[in-house]
Symmetry: C3
Subunit: 140 residues, 3 copies
């Protein structure tokens, strides 16, 4: 049984969606030891998200940001949680819709992602700073 955990601090990125697959795997050489298992990636914040989507065409990430900005508007008149700025409450809602973690199968030492899949960091604040993620690898 392999049970490995790492805590990583991501570089600060601008608001939007960013691929972090390579950063995750580069920090997890222990992946090679796992024949069968799962990798859990968790973000320790409530205004940023993790999801899995198309890695090849950057316009998908552009369209994600545009769509979610319309689906979750800033300055909704019924918002009460407004002290931290107009981007804060929408960031919490986007984080909940997209999720705080992804779990990915591991097969023969590699993430068993589909051909077009990558891990998206959703940075939903205008100035979110550096984010912490926790990687937990379970398997054999």
């Amino acid at each position: 049984m392999i049970c490995v955990q790492k805590r990583l601090r991501l570089p600060a990125v601008r608001r939007g969606f960013h691929l972090i697959t390579d950063l995750v795997t580069a920090n997890l050489p222990e992946l090679e030891q796992v024949q069968v298992g799962t990798l859990h990636v968790f973000i320790q914040h409530t205004s940023a998200s993790l999801s899995i989507n198309e890695k090849a065409d950057p316009t998908v990430r552009h369209d994600f940001e545009q769509f979610f900005n319309r689906a979750v508007p800033e300055n909704a008149p019924y918002f009460r949680h407004t002290l931290e700025g107009p981007d804060d409450m929408p960031a919490h809602l986007k984080a909940a819709m997209l999720g705080s973690s992804v779990t990915i199968p591991v097969t023969k030492g590699e993430l068993a992602l589909g051909t077009w899949q990558g891990i998206y960091l959703g940075e939903h604040r205008n100035d979110g700073g550096r984010r912490w993620i926790v990687l937990t690898l379970l398997g054999a």
Copy 2:
């Protein structure tokens, strides 16, 4: 290898979002035995959800309820699943958008949540009653 499972019945709560982190950890003393692992929390219902978000300010939970009531309207003219009342089909949709489970890393006997993170029970029915959750702790 530690492999522990508990089934818990939550108290009935009003429609909206509610913190259940303390209830989960209070019922899982086995957490202390895990140096590295994950806790999976699963809700056995299709009209309530689990998610992770801001625990400190209750206005965030208020704004969640207001937002999702607007994002998923009751009485949409195209709904066919209407026999159980106007809150039922929206509850299914909210549950799918937010999710039926959360997975949280465990580090040195504690949930590795960020400073501001808590586990939200989303009760999406007007009278959902008591809900069942299943906790599964895997690690070493």
Copy 3:
């Protein structure tokens, strides 16, 4: 410790939501060996999703398709990722909102789903073809 993985190719289905619980369990006789654990089901595509919802009444699946078609419109004027057709970018967004995987507790050799819960395949393309899923069973 049990650590089993299977890769399955699903039959092609029309755009919409489809139950795959029975197909998953039929391909996983190893479930019977697990007293306590989790099953992770992962879809290796970025325009189809997995979620958990109501299995008994097919009108719920109808209403899901209708709702998500309205929540994520085709031909949004700001979309840039449009080369693969009007259903493509919405499919990526629906996949992100609903998720690429579900994790389900396993208890005494069976999925610990609630009475009304089933696994939904969300096929978000008009002609998505056959999809690959990866099942990872961890437990004891």
